[in-house]
Symmetry: C2
Subunit: 366 residues, 2 copies
């Protein structure tokens, strides 16, 4: 294929990012962090590209957050400061962790003695030291410690191993998903829990130099969490239908769409596009009266009501709009991170012009 | 990384296929088709690998079925007989279709005059002819024509264009998802609809040399659809939790699992593994009392009750089993096709030994 110059040259489905909106989103979050004295350490799981991580660092990010070793390996070309916010459990993963380039300062988040002990042993064998953040559960009930005594005990151990150093705590407030206008109570509860842990750590002689939190839905409330030093939002670079729905961005801030072509109008009341669950991914919108798996950028009332792997069914029942075979649409997915992960490349566009091609280099684990 | 010899050498999550079960599944479907005088044209969307497509052809498949051009381009190395069961709408897609290697006989399924006319024009310009199957809607209400007069009209046009030839009809019985013991009525209705179309085509002078149907859930009922010449199952190569649930395979026929490691047990009543929605994918089980997004191969009562991108939460509430951090489990996903599509490679295993690495070469569209 010749290098595409225009969106019209792309085979669909194709993952498109609007460079102006991306730039605006990056600047907004960077400015928020700077103005509130918070370090910004974006989670690159959302875009998995070197180009966008570089831009995040250029705009002031102190480093990046990764979940997988593949992500960390790719990001080692971009930054020397990587938080792996995921316990590196198991020999194969620890081997790869220890094999990261020597210039990279690696911090690891974890919540168990087993993960810590294995990390310390691997680090000693490899002649490498790791900063450790103890992961707290502040309400999501996924991972993390809830009892301050457990937090202190793990901090003690991290401080005692030769190859690890206790650096602070991290949490992921994934349970805060309500509209931004309704987050006050959850933020207050989170802050109370956090301070209990920080108080216990201080009493035990552990200074938490890093207190790392943040997610895109709760990011702009971070200044209200006293003691927080760092935020790790990921989705904000693109935003998505969920982010818009909860008021964490405007619809016009949605910078990522899946470009799709209408391929069939044979069945009444619907049109079929070539973006299905292998291009958009299937994730329900967590909101009242939520319908569908994505909505058209230019017609948000038109949703993808159902999907097969390569078919998305546009619901036309509530609209007079009737697309024709060959028409193209741009779809904002419910959850952008899992849509990006389906695409080998992201096409950066300015209006209708394709201006760059970004490899989604950090996909997969192998 | 050194080449892994054992499952223990793999970084998790990893996509594993059991070579003995795959061989058994491939033989079972090949034998069914042969014994019932049906052509087998497997849909390779399930595995997207050259190696497994080659094995399907070696066992008697007449060719393969693809949805995307990327799939067809990869499969051109394996077979010279490809059905693209997807309308090639739009210039970029038609260009790639016409650029497929000359040795490949390409058949195209479509349901509109617009798609047909564009195909004919592109074929004429490229000096290439295409066989055409008219797609029927026999109950799924996704794509396809329902009125026999429309079917005949499209067959007329396919016969009249210089670059296209009417070869028959195709349908996808995706609406047949009930247990195999309860499919009789749906199969009878489908057969009645199909015969109405075939009768109308015959009356108009069109011989449908190909009558192509089949999906894994309904595959073993294909001999009861008089007039059917070909089946296109995909999932059968691996099977999954859905296939087992509806009785289209035994649990012991599930040949694909996601190998995962327990990374946290901090929250009571659950264990967290490193296979989440980016390794298993999120698709609900369409069955009564269905729970979760996957189940453990060796403990099918333990399900993945919820997921984040890199976290799967095993529900331990109904079990006394308590895994430890570092333990490994193998998870059968609800829908195998969308899980495979998340992995760059499939690891072929015999017991605990890794015997081959298959690239999932036909992922994506670019």
């Amino acid at each position: 294929m010749n290098e595409p110059r225009s969106l019209n040259d792309l085979v669909t489905p194709a993952a498109i990012l609007d460079v102006e909106r991306v730039a605006r989103n990056l600047h907004t979050m960077a400015a928020y962090a700077r103005e509130n004295g918070l370090h910004l350490r974006p989670h690159i799981k959302t875009h998995k590209t070197k180009e966008l991580a570089s831009e995040q660092v250029r705009l002031g990010a102190v480093g990046v957050t990764c979940a997988t070793l593949r992500e960390a390996e790719v990001m080692a070309d971009v930054t020397s400061d990587i938080l792996i916010a995921y316990p590196p459990v198991g020999r194969p993963r620890l081997e790869r962790l220890c094999a990261l380039p020597a210039h990279v300062a690696v911090t690891v988040g974890l919540d168990s003695r087993e993960a810590l002990a294995a990390l310390a042993t691997a680090g000693t064998a490899a002649g490498r030291t790791f900063d450790v953040l103890v992961e707290l559960d502040v309400g999501m009930r996924r991972v993390g410690l809830r009892r301050s005594s457990d937090v202190v005990a793990l901090a003690d151990e991290a401080a005692n191993h030769a190859a690890t150093r206790f650096r602070g705590v991290m949490f992921y407030p994934g349970h805060i998903r309500q509209h931004v206008a309704e987050q006050n109570e959850a933020i207050a509860q989170l802050t109370e829990d956090l301070h209990e842990h920080l108080g216990a750590l201080a009493a035990a002689g552990h200074a938490a130099g890093v207190v790392s939190g943040g997610s895109t839905p709760a990011a702009m409330a971070s200044h209200r969490i006293a003691g927080l030093t760092e935020i790790r939002p990921g989705t904000y670079v693109f935003n998505d239908r969920t982010t818009a729905e909860i008021g964490a961005c405007a619809w016009e801030d949605c910078a990522y769409t899946v470009l799709a072509t209408v391929v069939s109008t044979a069945v009444d009341g619907q049109a079929v596009v070539d973006a299905g669950s292998k291009a958009l991914n299937r994730e329900e919108l967590r909101a009242k009266d939520a319908r569908g798996f994505g909505a058209l950028l230019d017609r948000p009332d038109i949703v993808v009501k159902s999907m097969s792997e390569e078919h998305g069914i546009l619901d036309l029942a509530r609209s007079d709009w009737r697309p024709r075979i060959g028409d193209r649409v741009r779809i904002v997915p419910n959850h952008v991170c899992v849509s990006v992960n389906l695409h080998p490349v992201l096409w950066a566009a300015r209006g209708e012009d394709v201006v760059a091609r970004y490899e989604v280099a950090a996909r997969g684990w192998a």
